[in-house]
């Protein structure tokens, strides 16, 4: 793979930044007792949990990158698997849906990632929205059980779209042919993940430091103007500062980061609404202290397809 220099710089930078963040957070936890943390040490504990998750992300992405494109595709396939399992655990299903579930886990998921690995972008972008969409209800209908049929099918298809289709657009960036950026596409994935995580973190912290003005009277307590603006601001600042690892000029990186943060924010909001509908606090329990994979990656999943198509439209040589 080309781009070793940038990759090494980014890796070193991330490790140093996380090291710094870990030390600062540890110091605050140890010594800071004044406001606003005095009574509300949930902030610092959450920050700690997130920093640990980021360490895991850096390690996993770097390890996968050592194996090149296949490594990244396999990593995202595994993430899709974990997310899909969390999602389909909560969706409506009956005994007759066993075939549908088997198709989702054992056919749709591997096939989508084979298409990504092979770089068949045309088929990759229609396989689940068209073929799985039409085939899934057929398997279910053959079992004859009509109770809640449309709900069962729709919720399952939603899981496929989100956990497999949308998520697979991140590794699909590797299949894009960007002139002057050959072999460095993995840096765009890293950029996406960093921007979205920065926005997520700011969304969590800003309202707690600057107060809460709800976006609308009926949305949950956590959806505030402070959080929204903090998320977009943090995303744009971090995304622009990291323009050097992308094929984007600074001003382009700022616009892309704004769009990615916006989509990420919207994604978090949608997923939170689904969780409330299903009556759960978290998607799972695989990551200690912060729920499941979906809780950490909902924003990445929502923004990956947009980023993919923007890069494909404006930067590739087709």
């Amino acid at each position: 793979m080309n781009g070793h220099a940038e990759f090494a710089q980014l890796f070193t930078g991330l490790v140093l930044a996380l090291l710094g963040a870990t030390l600062v957070a540890a110091a605050i936890r140890r010594w800071w007792t004044g406001p606003p943390l005095g009574s509300e040490n949930i902030i610092i504990e959450t920050v700690f949990a997130r920093i640990n998750a980021w360490w895991a992300m850096v390690v996993l992405l770097s390890l996968a990158a050592l194996f090149g494109r296949i490594g990244i595709v396999v990593l995202f396939a595994m993430i899709s698997f974990a997310a899909l399992r969390e999602f389909l655990t909560l969706t409506a299903k009956r005994r007759a849906d066993h075939g549908v579930l088997m198709f989702s886990f054992f056919v749709a998921l591997p096939l989508q990632y084979v298409l990504v690995a092979a770089g068949w972008i045309g088929l990759m972008t229609i396989f689940i929205p068209v073929y799985a969409f039409l085939f899934l209800p057929v398997i279910a209908a053959m079992r004859g059980d009509s109770a809640g049929f449309l709900t069962r099918i729709a919720e399952t298809q939603w899981g496929l779209m989100l956990c497999i289709f949308a998520a697979s657009h991140a590794p699909a960036l590797l299949a894009l042919d960007i002139p002057g950026f050959e072999g460095k596409q993995i840096l765009i994935i890293a950029w996406l993940v960093i921007v979205v995580q920065a926005a997520d973190m700011a969304h969590f912290i800003t309202p707690r430091l600057m107060g809460r003005t709800r976006i609308a009277p009926d949305v949950p307590h956590s959806r505030t103007w402070e959080g929204f603006i903090g998320a977009l601001g943090a995303g744009v600042v971090v995304g622009t500062a990291l323009a050097w690892i992308t094929p984007f000029a600074s001003w382009q990186a700022a616009i892309m980061a704004l769009l990615v943060s916006l989509l990420g924010y919207a994604g978090g909001m949608v997923m939170a609404t689904i969780k409330r509908d299903k009556g759960v606090a978290d998607w799972g329990h695989l990551i200690p202290g912060q729920g499941g994979f979906m809780d950490r990656l909902d924003s990445v999943v929502f923004s990956a397809p947009l980023l993919f198509h923007l890069v494909r439209f404006f930067w590739t040589s087709v």
């Binding site: 698997f81 969390e86 389909l88 005994r95 066993h98």
Partner: protein
């Protein structure tokens, strides 16, 4: 020598089984009202799938697992050599004969369970007596739990709700799908002196159903 080999194979298969169950169902134990400590207990659980035993067994910590024996039907677990190996050697099940009319008096299921308890084991039992394939969350209990509670009133009876396994492996399916399962262990119950059989059984039934409602919240 052969016995040693079988024991070694059973230990390896046991670890393999736990690993497989963990990979497929990413199971989580919820200890709600009781702690995982080494006391003599009877875990009584809802029964929807043949994988119920391995699942409860897999979520127990290793130091409890080695002393916890499932109580299972011999007609199922002795049907072929593979099942017999898993039932008898790996899970170390207390095998009972369900055929009420053609069994020896010494095969009495309750006596078998009491003997296992007296040897120091904990038990996993399914008081519904069979797999529940209905829409009803929990069937009526058989009387075995009552007789067990009468014979050994000091043993903790732990309601154990297994959630979602019927979606992972519904009856008649061979391939499990990897959905997440939870096993909720609730506050133990004991029989009160002179408590009526039906009252006790409905109390135990209610304690188990309550865990289902709890895990939905």
């Amino acid at each position: 020598m052969l016995k040693r080999l079988v024991e070694a194979a059973a230990a390896i298969a046991g670890h393999g089984l736990v690993l497989f169950v963990r990979m497929v169902t990413a199971p989580r134990a919820i200890w709600a009202g009781i702690e995982p400590i080494p006391r003599k207990r009877v875990y009584f659980a809802n029964h929807t799938s043949n994988a119920d035993f391995p699942l409860v067994w897999a979520v127990l910590p290793a130091f409890l697992r080695s002393r916890t024996r499932p109580v299972a039907a011999s007609d199922y677990w002795l049907k072929n050599r593979l099942r017999a190996f898993f039932g008898r050697d790996v899970l170390n099940a207390v095998l009972i004969n369900r055929d009420r009319d053609n069994r020896d008096p010494e095969e009495d299921p309750v006596q078998r369970m009491i003997a296992a308890l007296d040897e120091g084991s904990s038990l996993i039992i399914f008081p519904e007596g069979m797999r529940n394939l209905t829409e009803d969350p929990l069937l009526e209990f058989k009387t075995g739990l009552y007789h067990l509670a009468m014979a050994r009133p000091d043993v903790d009876l732990v309601p154990t709700w297994i959630d979602n396994l019927n979606s992972v492996l519904p009856k008649g399916e061979i391939v499990p799908v990897p959905l997440i399962c939870t096993v909720t262990f609730g506050r133990p119950i004991h029989i009160a002196p002179g408590e009526d059989r039906d009252i006790f059984l409905s109390r135990a039934h209610a304690a188990l159903v309550a865990l289902n409602k709890g895990s939905e919240e």
